[in-house]
Symmetry: C2
Subunit: 215 residues, 2 copies
């Protein structure tokens, strides 16, 4: 049975993982009979009140990700790529704030060392990598110099920034995905659009099916 | 276009709404082209660390529910049943800790006044009510004396406690639902079982379809 690693960045789209994207990923992995384990960095960051947009207290990304994972979340440092057939990065602002600093620094952003290590290891092992919403920017930052192709939907400013990493950007509808079969990178725009949960689910469902076939 | 009210009790199954059940509800409502608004009580309660199970600081149920709702959560006190065709209560321990005290007090539990008011109003107006996981215990507490029928799966102890409210309990598989067509109550067991996310999604998907037909 194939096993996927899912990398979260918290719980909530303003400061962590987008919840619908994360849950859609897990639903579809289970639908295909794929096993998965969930990882998140064990660091604390300022949280954001999702009702008001105002800053909250500091929270641990790993502890909050455990809310989505029903307790079964592990430190990203312990993700051994040898134990998995594929890795998936759901979106949410956490991916562009904590896994890398793309939200602030664009194409020249820093990448969290444990995230960089994971992406490079799966790439080296020719194992597929999935990324949704803004998370493809993280993949582009790490693997852009190889000329990988990703999508974040049709936002011109973000797409232009992504191409500065060396990555190609292809526009994509919310309920669809882009597959780079040479580099085994599968991306879907999800909440980069003002979408509804079923559109997001549909795009991710198609993307995970493609990843399952690649893995 | 039919409009549903979705009542959450936080964000995370140990102290609030079960996240997969909540997201599954929203995905399927959107799939059927149903509109929805999300509500939660505006009260603060002790949170639970989902990684360790240990107590955390106090958090606002409404503010945390806004993480699932992408910011669009409203005070449960402002839910006007006249504006909606149906109401849905996803599960998670929050439904049995904060919407009522079933987790501590069983069949004689207290019910949060604004939750009681909503359930009674939808019942009086003969509008359908959905509830998943442990949330059917809340419905049983409020409407049990009418002899409504619900399911929480096959847990004998919980089912026995529910029947003390006057409600009927019928065993049900995780990926299915029980429909009380006389009282328009639709329930699905979800994470009352040690289930996977696709099983939970499947049961809720069927239950929402039934609610949509009733509404």
């Amino acid at each position: 049975m194939k096993k996927f690693a899912v990398v979260l960045s918290g719980c909530g789209h303003k400061d962590g993982s987008e919840i619908t994207e994360s849950v859609s990923t897990l639903i579809v992995l289970a639908e295909h009979g794929l096993q998965y384990e969930i990882f998140a960095p064990n660091i604390s960051v300022p949280a954001t009140n999702h009702l008001t947009g105002q800053p909250q207290e500091e929270r641990s990304i790993l502890t909050e990700a455990a809310r989505i994972a029903r307790g079964q979340a592990q430190d990203l440092k312990n993700l051994n790529p040898e134990n998995f057939d594929a890795v998936v990065f759901p979106g949410g602002f956490g991916a562009a704030l904590h896994l890398c600093s793309f939200a602030k620094d664009g194409a020249k952003c820093k990448v969290l060392p444990e995230a960089q290590k994971v992406i490079e290891a799966f790439h080296r092992a020719e194992k597929p990598i999935g990324a949704f919403c803004i998370a493809p920017a993280l993949i582009a930052r790490v693997l852009g110099s190889h000329g990988v192709t990703v999508t974040i939907g049709n936002d011109t400013e973000t797409a232009t920034e992504i191409t500065k990493t060396g990555a190609q950007h292809v526009n994509c509808a919310v309920d669809d995905y882009i597959s780079d079969r040479d580099f085994k990178i599968v991306t879907s725009p999800a909440y980069m659009y003002d979408a509804n949960p079923f559109q997001v689910f549909t795009g991710i469902r198609k993307a995970i099916k493609e990843l399952a076939e690649m893995a």
